[in-house]
Amino acid sequence: MSFNGIKGAVNVPGEIPWEIVLLYFILALAFVFYIGKKQGGLKKFTTLDLVYIAVGAALGVAWEFYIGSYLGRLLPSSPFIGIGFWGRILIILIFVALVRKVGAGMLSLLIFNVLSDLLHYGFGGEPMFTIYETLTYGLFIDLLIALTGGHIFGIGLKPNTASADVPEEVLVKNLRRRQNILAIVEGIVLGILFALPDPIFYLGFFRPFLYGAIVNWQTVIFDIEAFIPGDVIITIIAGFLALRVARAVGQ
């Protein structure tokens, strides 16, 4: 059975069983509601948080559809390079790092998706893509925020003032070193996580589901491996840039 070329195929060889995909998104959604209820939902975001998220989304759109898309055309197309995605995720991470509340990642991806629908896509493929991106990339960022206690890339950490006779400059220096290390470590974790959704969900499920494509697990594995280096480097850079921006705005 198919409609307009969309096969709705769920039994393509090698395809991730739809039950698993559904389970993932149900669990993710349950997590969102749990966190939302526990932390006060959208109310816990101050207006400043919302402006940061909005500005991040706007810059992300300006990058992905304009500046980045032109740059992308100058570079060879391969799984190793994803100029549009990199720029967008880098910009969004910087602004999420200014908010540092669980949910900021998902909200950022949501606003980015709605904005790109208004400006570019005309809501094509919605709401599927918004749900997919929000509950993968957005959720991963939020998990990291939760795990770091709201101090993603070490932003907002206080200097270790245990010993009173250490000069202020030294304390600041130590804090910065700690933040830089955290930016690298968290960048690696996040970069690896970011490399997963596209091959696993898109190549492994949506493409066969929508278009009846045959899953090639070699390509899925290759794409994951190919995405990792770039995504890791970009998220580390995002960490450093986020630290820079946070300092510039006095956080």
Partner: protein, 312 residues
């Protein structure tokens, strides 16, 4: 050598078109509302969003030339806007860039199996790529059919892009806010979308200033004019960190300003001006219904989608 020129310049031409003819400031004009009194300005934003969705749907379920006609029709609408010819030209350059860029980013990668699915039976090879080009994901040969296929897919994209920007150019932030409020979207999300919506042109404005400052400071000094668009692109990328910080610093002002005027005092808001549907909306709804009928008829009479989605 020719392969490399094609490889680079196939993609570069759209970049040159946009950066040389529109410039970064042009993006401000193509993403910012300016008041006007003609038909499109009088439409309820919901009508415009629905039009965008329907154009997207029609372009993707019908044959490529319907997408092309839709693109042309929507482009002509730009002429009716305030300072219409200028906006039309900008939209046209953007269309051209999207079209050429879209075609070129699809054509060389499209395998023959996909072309066969799209109904192509004969393949006329016009260029043979070096074997190592397969590493970029290229097919071994470039065929006329690949280019036609790429162009057909591109029309699916251009129709939507051209229509979406019409919404942006003819709708105020206040009306976007009212639209989402009316659709019962939570106020926090509505606010963030509206702020994002109005920030896009600001981003280009700031990047433009930063880029000009880099040029004044000698970036690209002594280089030939033909390289200028590339310097412009690099300068635009370098302009992003200061733009981010500038916007992040200013974010605080906007937040204080709206919060000290009672923003989110309640979960909803009232409105000075209610969004209503006028006779213009009914005309547009008529056009929208016609578009849907057209899509159905096209499918019945064999002008349905001829190109698969694979490769997008």
């Amino acid at each position: 050598m020719v392969s490399w020129i094609l490889f680079f310049y196939g993609s570069v031409i759209p970049v040159i078109i946009v950066l040389a003819l529109i410039g970064i400031k042009g993006f401000v004009e193509i993403t910012r509302y300016e008041s006007g009194t003609t038909f499109f300005y009088k439409l309820n934003p919901i009508t415009k969003v629905v039009l965008g969705i329907v154009v997207m749907a029609v372009a993707s379920v019908t044959t490529w030339w319907i997408g092309a006609i839709l693109t042309a029709a929507m482009l002509l609408v730009y002429l009716t806007l305030n300072d219409g010819f200028r906006k039309f030209m900008y939209a046209f350059y953007l269309f051209l860039s999207t079209f050429l860029g879209g075609t070129w980013s699809i054509a060389p990668y499209t395998p023959y199996s996909v072309l066969q699915l799209a109904g192509f039976k004969q393949f006329n090879v016009i260029w043979v790529w070096p074997s190592y080009f397969t590493a970029f994901g290229y097919e071994p040969y470039l065929t006329v059919q690949q280019l036609i296929y790429g162009a057909q897919v591109a029309f699916r994209i251009t129709a939507v892009v051209v229509t979406s920007l019409l919404l942006v150019l003819t709708t105020t932030a206040s009306d976007i806010f009212r639209m989402f409020t009316k659709l019962k979207v939570p106020i926090a999300i509505t606010f963030a979308i509206t702020v994002a919506f109005t920030t896009v042109p600001k981003v280009f404005d700031l990047i433009d200033t930063s880029v000009k400052m880099q040029f004044l400071r000698g970036f690209g000094y002594g280089k030939t004019a033909i390289l200028r668009p590339f310097y412009l692109l690099v300068a635009a990328i370098l302009a992003i960190p200061p733009t981010i910080i500038y916007l992040a610093r200013n974010a605080r002002n906007l937040a204080i300003s709206v919060d000290t005027r009672g923003f989110r005092a309640y979960n909803s808001r009232t409105s000075l001006v209610e969004l209503t549907y006028s006779k213009y909306d009914y005309i547009m709804w008529g056009i929208i219904v016609m578009l849907i009928v057209l899509a159905i008829l096209a499918n019945i009479f064999g002008f349905g989608r001829t190109i698969p989605y694979t490769g997008l």
